[in-house]
Symmetry: C2
């Protein structure tokens, strides 16, 4: 394999039919072996509300009790995943929807209940890159929801950004791998209200300074730190860009200085 | 491949946690290449009720409007499929959950709206037996919900018995294939109230007589006719038996007289 691209999309794409249709066309046109990881959008929250399940968030993270686990499994691994797969098939991309339990491809461990018990929430333990390689070699495009399993029969809700980063890190052992996080904004901005203030490249040293200056803050901190960790562990590049700029050479890029740059 | 077994389970297994746990252990122990097809149980109906969707049945078949399609996709392709896969993984079976859209493995066509418009309901058009073979060769056990797609981006709800029969018929070209329908009763009974009146074997000629006599009636007619058609099209044997007798040589068997019997 010459290269592998892992793309992650979030709710802002999934909740917007026009944006989703465009994304599916662009993703189908992306050359080479590729993998898609998706979040769930607002549908899980709306369904939980209609079922009168309590949605509890701690530090922006959903507390996943059994009822909520069932809802996110239905919405993420069921409706959103299968609609995405059917849409990509129609766009000419041979998509294959997966949870971590399918083929035991991603094993997760339940997060310790201290200091906060997030319920059925997991962190990734192991990725079967050999099976992923076989699927990619067969011309298939894996499409992952963030529902994983613990190997003992329990499904676990994981963070989709972390799933994308774990997959890219595991695949980097097989072929040069680039990771793209699709985001609402153009990338990391010097001024959050000005898309022209895009920071095109972030290095580990540059990150420390940007964080100290308060340029990188809030939800952007874990995203950039995830990206820095991924390139440290062998991913060739991580890019943060708008979903509608998937095929453009745009956004903020974090590069592995030891590896050659993507074509 | 020496042989392939296709097993279909319905709601009576999925809705009963003890029966499901036993079935998962037995299915994991079934030797050789195998595929599982599952229905959805009462959960889809209960969820549709809680969402106040109208559930309309014509001749025992659900009318699938867009809201109902979303519910069955969530429940069948999401919750039930992923719970089954995670349970089988825990039982040592390398299960891979699939809808027809995944890998474009089963293509369906929307049923014509005359004489009854069933909505988003499909009939199977084509099975990619080559991709199925590759998955089986990789040691994977496909687990199918009955959610298929039309190749143009639309998901379609299919009949799980027909999915099992179409998969077995396609696989029969690759290796000797046996199909097992798990059922509430021991098989086709001479007297519906007496499990000891099991009819062990049905032939095409025998079927005509049993139907004339009224021994085979109601929901059993399409089941046995599906079975007769499957053996006519190359499936080695079709067995109708209780889910808790999966590993036993029990139930009613319809055999292809031109092919050798299973070991």
């Amino acid at each position: 394999m010459e290269r592998i691209t892992v793309v992650k999309i979030g709710g802002h794409v999934i909740d917007d039919p026009a944006a989703l249709a465009r994304f599916q066309r662009d993703f189908a046109a992306l050359p080479g072996a590729k993998i898609l990881v998706h979040g769930g959008g607002k549908l899980a929250t709306r369904l939980a509300e209609r079922l009168e399940l309590k949605v509890e968030l701690v530090e922006g993270r959903r507390i996943t009790d059994k009822g909520t686990l069932d809802v996110v499994t239905m919405v993420y691994a069921g409706l959103v995943n299968k609609q995405l797969v059917a849409g990509l098939q129609a766009a000419g991309c041979n998509a294959l929807g997966l949870s971590g339990a399918d083929g035991n491809i991603v094993l997760a461990g339940r997060r310790p209940p201290q200091p906060v018990d997030y319920g059925f929430v997991g962190d990734i333990v192991r990725v079967d890159s050999e099976l992923l390689r076989r699927l990619l070699d067969a011309g298939l495009t894996p499409v992952f929801s963030a529902i994983m399993h613990d190997g003992a029969g329990t499904l676990l809700n994981c963070n989709a950004d972390s799933v994308a980063s774990a997959l890219a890190t595991a695949l980097a052992r097989i072929a040069p791998t680039d990771l793209i996080y699709c985001f609402e904004k153009r990338g990391v901005l010097g001024d959050p209200d000005d898309e022209r203030s895009l920071i095109r490249e972030i290095t580990p040293v540059g990150y420390a300074a940007l964080r100290t200056q308060g340029v990188i803050r809030g939800g952007m901190i874990p995203k950039v730190e995830n990206a820095l960790k991924a390139v440290e562990q062998g991913v060739r590049s991580v890019s943060i860009r708008r979903a509608d700029r998937l095929l453009a050479d745009d956004g903020t890029t974090i590069r592995n200085s030891q590896l050659s740059t993507p074509d």
